[in-house]
């Protein structure tokens, strides 16, 4: 553990393998899933209407009662299935956890639920609307869809939440009996998120670009043969995290996802993409982080087996 500065950085005593990284953004209908070291490219150009894209994914996602839930559940489940497909977990193991990061994905469900109740009748609201309006529903529905029986938890928020989900998973894998964990950030942009962006005076024009999911499959199982390992995790209050890093990490530059300008909303699906890019470009060690003037910083460090 290092802690001479404002924060704390730990070196995991049991490094966690990064088995696969993936993303699913419109208009792609198949997730892009790679072994760490290869970049993930997002489709470029105008997105247009994503309703057809959503409908197609929803139908083949196998998420039970998908229409009752947040669409982020669908994109995360489709991505999760592909990530799990990359590395067949040993002997049909279901001790796989799901840690999601998402902020506003369930507000569309809650809005529909309350609008129906208020405008029509409370007796006709979707009986699954309440359970699906909970942020945890995204993780729990993913677990249900993919048959995963370890933890299922949602970190509420955007960029910081992704690092929370990553840390939660890594510490669980290091301590408990779970072998694998899916860490996924997902967002969706419905008319409710658009109204909220507009109402809060934020950029609506580029909102559609923020819809989608990206994430990682982590494993504590050495049989997973992951070339890249999650090695270092840290968080701090202010100033430069370099002072908190272990000495042999201090010359590794931090690839900051966001810094010093406040955290833009609906960016849960960003960190895994940045991590994939850093791993593809990095030599043997990389650091990726997020920081905010008020909330401090998180970093994660990965190293490649020599």
């Amino acid at each position: 553990m290092s802690g001479s500065g404002s924060g704390r950085v730990i070196t995991l005593t049991r490094p966690i393998g990064i088995v696969a990284i993936g993303a699913l953004f419109p208009p792609d209908t198949e997730p892009a899933v790679v072994r760490p070291g290869a970049p993930i490219e997002r489709a470029s150009g105008p997105l247009g209407d994503v309703s057809e894209w959503r409908e197609g994914l929803r139908k083949r996602s196998q998420v039970p009662r998908a229409r009752s839930g947040a669409f982020a559940t669908v994109s995360a489940a489709v991505l999760g299935r592909s990530l799990l497909g990359v590395a067949r977990t040993p002997d049909g193991c279901t001790a796989i956890g799901v840690a999601m990061a998402s902020m506003s994905s369930t507000i569309g469900v809650a809005h529909r639920y309350e609008s129906t109740g208020r405008h029509e009748s409370w007796s006709v609201v979707d009986p699954f609307g309440f359970s699906n309006s909970l942020p945890s529903a995204i993780a729990a529905q993913m677990a249900l869809t993919l048959g995963l029986r370890a933890f299922a938890v949602t970190f509420v928020g955007d960029l910081f939440a992704f690092f929370g989900a990553l840390t939660f998973s890594a510490l669980n894998l290091a301590r408990a009996g779970q072998r694998c964990a899916l860490v996924i950030g997902a967002d969706e942009v419905t008319h409710v998120q658009r109204a909220a962006l507009a109402g809060a005076g934020l950029d609506v024009a580029s909102a559609a670009e923020r819809e989608g999911a990206s994430g990682l499959l982590l494993s504590s199982d050495s049989a997973a043969q992951a070339e890249w390992k999650l090695t270092v995790l840290g968080c701090g209050a202010a100033d430069d995290p370099a002072t908190c890093l272990p000495p042999d990490w201090r010359d590794v530059p931090v690839d900051w996802i966001a810094s010093n300008g406040g955290l833009p909303p609906l960016r849960s699906a960003t960190p895994a993409i940045v991590l994939a890019r850093a791993l593809a470009q990095g030599p043997a060690r990389i650091l990726v982080g997020v920081r905010d003037p008020l909330l401090g910083w998180w970093v994660c460090g990965c190293s490649r087996d020599e």
Partner: protein, 402 residues
């Protein structure tokens, strides 16, 4: 690494009390204060009782629905600020993390957005922003010193124990020295109608483990505790006595049934409890008392009773606090952790309110008066929608100041 220590400084605000001592006394006495929610939640269907925080408990009166959760979490955090300052004075290098546990967040903002739309009013920008950015943990973080990470965790009604498990991992891994865990949820229209819609709300107030139980009582509330490293606990003790008995988190486990959205399974509960006991190195027969989730719904109580039979055979004394607190969702398990800590401290296990006809005699649920339980580890169980099961084992540990 020694297990994380739960400090004596705890806080709570519930429908049964303006603070933790009042709330604990209410649970011991089986005294509850359920009311109708019409003055808090606009445009509800015909009402059923809820456990609401009394108006006079809120400084300056009840906050707007759009800020009820953030205000509650902030009140709890600020009430522990003095203790945190003391810890940081004793341990100048200590770093603080915050983990907020909430089932459904600041959902009053959605209510306001929907009602404003209906009424043709404008929604304040701040309300919209609260739907897009995590405000609760951030609001707490900016009020405290040396905070290195603030997270908001949702695992439905098991959130409190999942949050404690995460806090324990942060502390024991060395990512912080002190972790403030706050479980909080405010009354909301979506929860009130949602529980009612799936037939999970009691008409007259919940009676966990009763033969005639007819559902739970939706509640709001909050509870806060401080988890610290063994080193910080010893440092705090040093000026007080040569040795001190600490309550520690001995084991924690969470799983998911991956089976049904709202129905728990006894197998999932059994697995979570066994995993927590294994980690704690505690045999089932060594457990001195159990705080069950005990919502008072037919299915929840039945699943827990079946799991208890599998785990224990002969069950240790158990209880549910929801007959007094109602079901405060993201706060409920943290309230049970505070109660479990009291049981470890004084040996008293509160009765389950209104339990004059137990449905599951083998479950050994305490009724009528508090029971004196033997000294030993206390188990806390929590279940959440989506099949999430969580269990935590708290126990004594006598430490020397070293």
């Amino acid at each position: 690494m020694k297990p994380a220590v739960l400090l004596p400084a705890v806080r709570a605000i519930t429908g049964a009390g303006a603070n933790w001592p009042e709330s604990w006394q209410a649970v011991l006495a089986g005294r509850r204060r359920f009311t109708l929610p019409d003055s808090i939640l606009p445009w509800l269907p015909p009402s059923l009782p809820v456990a609401a925080i009394a108006d006079e408990t809120w400084p300056g009166g009840p906050p707007p629905l759009t800020q009820r959760l953030s205000v509650l979490a902030t009140m709890l955090a600020e009430s522990l600020a003095g203790e945190l300052r003391h810890i940081l004075a004793q341990c100048p290098d200590a770093r603080v993390s915050i983990v907020i546990s909430t089932s459904h967040g600041e959902s009053g903002a959605i209510t306001e957005a929907v009602d404003a739309e209906w009424d043709g009013r404008a929604v304040a920008p701040d309300v919209w922003l609260s739907l897009l950015t995590e405000r609760c943990a951030a609001a707490v973080a900016v009020r405290l010193d040396r905070v290195v990470a603030a997270s908001c965790v949702s695992a439905a009604c098991a959130s409190g124990l999942v949050a404690l498990g995460y806090a324990r991992d942060l502390v024991e891994a060395g990512l912080c020295d002190v972790c403030l865990v706050i479980g909080a949820d405010a009354l909301s229209r979506v929860a009130f109608v949602g529980f009612r819609q799936v037939g999970a709300t009691s008409k007259a107030g919940c009676r966990p483990f009763h033969q005639d139980r007819d559902g739970t009582t939706v509640a709001e509330g909050g509870a806060a505790l401080l988890l610290v490293t063994a080193a910080v606990a010893s440092r705090l003790d040093a000026g007080v006595s040569a040795g001190s008995e600490h309550v520690r988190v001995l084991g924690s486990a969470t799983n998911c049934d991956a089976r049904h959205v709202v129905e728990p399974t006894s197998a999932g509960i059994t697995d979570a409890v066994r995993a927590a006991l294994d980690e704690a190195r505690v045999r089932p027969e060594e457990v001195s008392a159990v705080y069950w989730h005990g919502t008072g719904t037919r299915q929840n109580d039945e699943a827990e009773a079946a799991a208890a039979g599998d785990i224990f055979g002969v069950c240790p004394p158990g209880t549910s606090t929801k007959g007094v607190f109602g079901h405060a969702m993201g706060a409920s398990a943290v309230l049970n952790l505070l109660a479990a800590r009291e049981t470890l401290r004084c040996g008293l296990l509160p009765p389950t309110a209104m339990l004059d006809a137990p449905a599951f005699p083998h479950l050994n649920i305490v009724a009528g008066q508090p029971a004196l339980v033997p000294r030993g580890p206390v188990l806390v169980v929590a279940l959440g929608f989506g099949g999430i099961n969580s269990a935590v084992v708290l126990g004594h540990c006598l430490d020397t100041a070293s």
